[in-house]
Subunit: 197 residues, 2 copies
Amino acid sequence: MARRTAEEAEQTKQAIAAAAKQLFIQQGYQATSMEQIRESSGMSKGSIYYHFKSKEQLFMYLLELNMVDWIFKCTERFKLVSTATEKLYAIAHHFAHDFENPLMQASMEFSGTKGADPEVIEKIVEMSKFPLPLILDVIKEGIQQKEFAEDDPEKLALLLYSVLGGLGIIQFDNYSLEELEFIHRKAIDVFLNGIRA
Amino acid sequence: MARRTAEEAEQTKQAIAAAAKQLFIQQGYQATSMEQIRESSGMSKGSIYYHFKSKEQLFMYLLELNMVDWIFKCTERFKLVSTATEKLYAIAHHFAHDFENPLMQASMEFSGTKGADPEVIEKIVEMSKFPLPLILDVIKEGIQQKEFAEDDPEKLALLLYSVLGGLGIIQFDNYSLEELEFIHRKAIDVFLNGIRA
DNA sequence: CCATTATTAGAACGATCGGTCAGTATAATC
DNA sequence: GATTATACTGACCGATCGTTCTAATAATGG
């Protein structure tokens, strides 16, 4: 079997991408082999390399997809609320719920890969910070609206990003989703309390 | 050349450990090869495997050493201050300054390693949380001394641990040590402000 | 001073890695 | 219906992985 329709080919590509994504999230970048992706996706080695020119590029593809999806969902949520405070809770909720986000972990690990294209590394490092501008905007808005006390928005944004990122990275094997979400809300509670006007 | 004195042998072991530590921190666990450790330490493959029975065990050895050192330094600092608030600043300072701590990153990545001994994985996951009890104690003390508002100490400890861990993990390529320390202090400021009695 | 043992060196191992390639089959094009 | 471009297969590649093994040598105990 070969030469599917363009539509079917796209399905193949997405099957590979989906399998790869799951494995990268579960095991990290380096621990995931192309052989595993082949097995999990049910496609052949050749097919993978037909759609993606390298493991690096496959990973990049996933990161980009993940990023635009994340930002889209977040801005959608923003439309439902009005205050900066509510927006921060929305972001936290997003961090807690988004299973897809753990790609962040994999992308931090990626930097260490030997022989990796420096250009790709820099691009990935840059991309892993994508939620920062969003957070920054909300904090600026909060300060302007007098919801939050006057302070350096850049530093506060970095702080909140670290909290949420840290919460996502720390191993929570024995926590339920509810507890997890609770902790994320708690994080915002404390943070808000700390910067309130 | 072979058969050094016991003292010289220990030096060899420590040279290997030191080289490995640096590489694990810089590149992560999987990206660091035994060949690199051999080259960097200047010792031979045989020598490495004489002192450490596997890459896993070498990594474990470093983690344990790092942990006791961290705790020791921290409790030493605690003796110089009195309030829980001051202790939190001390912990933050420790997180910011301790270059050695980035082993945490490597230990989180380790979990994904294929074929890794599950027993070792669990042990490492457990070990990576070592600062938690310390933080928990301080927070309990702070609540008891009425420095902090009444709250669930477990959750607050997890929160602070995530903040500091997150700050340590996020890529700060373009930040100086001073800025880094500043941000860590700022984190405690906001956190303290958020939980103050 | 001899036998033993601790410590090193480095060649070699099988396994697995990411990646390539010649070949095939079919949809699309004309 | 012949031709061409596309989608895919699976065997295969050299490199590198963690690890093992044998041999050499120097310190140690008798």
